[in-house]
């Protein structure tokens, strides 16, 4: 039996629904020794800002139960260096390249970034990172407010025809409200979840394990939270959802499709097993065959339960 794994996200045609999440895959070159990158559904780059960013001071990571904390603080070489040093490698892969972008102090930086990127065909889609919890000095995230989310997505939608993905934060009261705001503003898709805000303390030293004190939790520890948010958003919006948060194997990937995701992203699991994304791609195909499901798209939101 031949099964279909291809999906559409906005204008993007993905050969399969498995992507790699921003910040966990560098600019892909770091993983070229481990997997055939062309097999991925899409690659989401580490977030790029207009100017280079140094990021947060070390220590930046620590292990937590079934996961980890990070506070990298959006370290990146800036737009110019990305276009010159990173994009040429990505372009050659021939698969959709989704560029994650963020603003620093002023959300208007998004506009300038998007205007510049409109000229680059190699950038297939844009993921708006309005949910990074690790920018110091920032009191709240754009994605913690419906109006702020709506207005930034709307202003970007006006100036670009590229596929827009809005990445949402789980650190909110009701994620479906934010997802709806992104949808109404013209986002082609929402990606959820970004990391959960958290901290860890070394009791002997009575000090935080991260220099920034707080950071973002990722890994299987957050999977139940992520899954519930995908399900909640799926019930309230019509645009596709890219589900992520603690996926480490085929069965955890499947959970997200069943909850309502049209595609998934592998994040922290890339650190433990750099081959995990391609293993999941073949695992999904195997599951569909075994279940006699012809198309991965019919798995999305296929949760069976009595209400």
């Amino acid at each position: 039996m031949k099964v279909n794994l291809s999906v559409k996200i906005g204008k993007l045609k993905l050969n399969n629904p498995v992507m790699v999440a921003s910040g966990t895959f560098g600019y892909a070159e770091e993983f070229k020794d481990f997997i055939n990158l062309k097999k991925l559904g899409a690659i989401v780059t580490k977030t790029i800002t207009l100017s280079p960013r140094r990021g947060n001071p070390p220590a930046r990571t620590c292990e937590t139960p079934s996961g980890m904390l990070n506070s990298i603080g959006l370290e990146n070489p800036g737009l110019e260096a990305f276009l010159k040093d990173k994009l040429p490698f990505l372009e050659k892969l021939g698969i959709p390249i989704i560029m994650s972008i963020a603003s620093e102090e002023d959300p208007r930086e998004f506009i300038e970034l998007v205007k510049r990127l409109n000229r680059y065909k190699a950038v297939s889609g844009l993921e708006l990172n309005i949910s990074c919890p690790n920018v110091m000095g920032q009191e709240s995230l754009i994605s913690q407010d419906c109006q702020a989310t709506y207005s930034i997505v709307k202003s970007i939608r006006r100036i670009t025809a590229k596929t827009l993905i809005t990445k949402l934060s789980p650190n909110v009261t009701r994620i479906s409200d934010i997802a709806k705001a992104a949808q109404e503003a013209g986002s082609d898709c929402v990606a959820l979840i970004n990391t959960l805000s958290g901290m860890s303390i070394n009791a002997e030293k009575q000090s935080p394990r991260l220099a920034a004190v707080v950071g973002g939790v990722s890994g299987p520890a957050i999977r139940p939270v992520a899954l519930k948010m995908v399900w909640e958003a799926y019930n309230k919006i019509n645009i596709p959802i890219i589900g992520m948060g603690g996926i480490i194997d085929t069965s955890s990937a499947l959970e997200f499709f069943i909850a309502g995701a049209s595609a998934i992203s592998i994040g922290t699991a890339n650190f433990i097993n750099p081959r995990v994304s391609v293993e999941i791609i073949s695992g999904l195909g195997g599951y569909l065959k075994r279940k006699k499901i012809k198309d991965i798209r019919s798995l999305t939101g296929s949760l069976i339960y009595e209400s």
Binding site: E30, K46, G55, P58, R60, T61, F271, R275
Partner: protein, 257 residues
């Protein structure tokens, strides 16, 4: 860089909390250079979650050796792995020691505690006849690899913090004493060090004060170990640098403590 499953030939306690693991890994062994490290999945489950980085202690034929100290849950897990088990490894990783110009120099290796681990592989690779190693330990029962180093280095000096053997005090104090009576010119001396942070900081200070060439191998918590996550950075004169990629070996002059 490879991700492979390799067979554990042996995994035994040396003394106290120090363990020695021998792996059958011909392809990795061939590719490995002194100072590089392996990122090891010590357990197949989620505890611990992340891989653990270990320096390459020695390469012998197709075998790789890891010398490690059990300090927490991850290393305890590692110590439970039995011979015959398979271990998921990524390596060799990072930039190792630069010893191209060491062959004609007076080479001083300084290892503190488990920090001696990468120095054995290095001491074998350096062909200079004029080598000295300072092995530092808290107490005489924790002195590591004295015999192994004697196979490659004629001059092995010991220091213990409690004075139970050899020089009494910090290994860096021993280094200071030796430098002060060193007859050779500063240009002819090359230091290589690995050990706890305060020790490495002191080695860097000594190197700076006497204008000596020194390379130190750092240890940091890592996310990915392959340069993608930017989690293991340290402060250098050239900005933040990744221990897993630009390191773990850095020039003493470069680091900001």
């Amino acid at each position: 860089m490879l991700q492979i499953k390799v067979k554990i030939i042996s995994n035994k306690r040396l003394k106290g909390n120090y363990w020695h693991c021998v792996l059958s890994a011909p392809s990795l062994a061939r590719a490995s250079r002194p100072g590089q490290f392996l990122n090891v999945r010590v357990s197949d489950g989620l505890k611990p979650f992340l891989r653990r980085p270990f320096s390459i202690h020695n390469v012998c034929g197709g075998r790789l050796e890891i010398l490690y100290e059990v300090v927490g849950g991850g290393t305890r897990n590692f110590s439970c792995r039995k011979s015959g088990d398979h271990l998921d490894l990524i390596g060799p990783l990072g930039k190792g020691f630069d010893y191209r110009y060491a062959q004609n120099k007076r080479v001083i290796l300084i290892g503190g505690g488990i920090g001696v681990a990468p120095l054995l592989f290095l001491s074998r690779a350096i062909k200079s006849m004029d080598k000295l190693i300072l092995i530092g330990a808290r107490t005489k029962g924790q002195i590591l690899c004295e015999k192994e180093f004697k196979n490659f280095i004629s001059d092995v000096k010991i220091s213990t913090d409690d004075g139970s053997r050899g020089f009494s005090g910090r290994v860096t104090d021993l280094l200071k004493n030796l430098i002060s009576i060193e007859p050779r010119s500063k240009k002819e001396i090359q230091l290589y060090a690995c050990g706890p942070k305060p020790m490495l900081k002191e080695v860097c200070n000594i190197a700076k004060a006497h204008n000596l060439q020194a390379q130190v191998s750092l240890e940091e918590h890592m996310g990915c170990g392959i340069g993608a996550c930017l989690g293991c950075v340290v402060k250098t004169k050239n900005g933040l640098r990744r221990v897993c990629k630009e390191g773990p070996v850095f020039d003493a002059q470069e680091l900001i403590w």
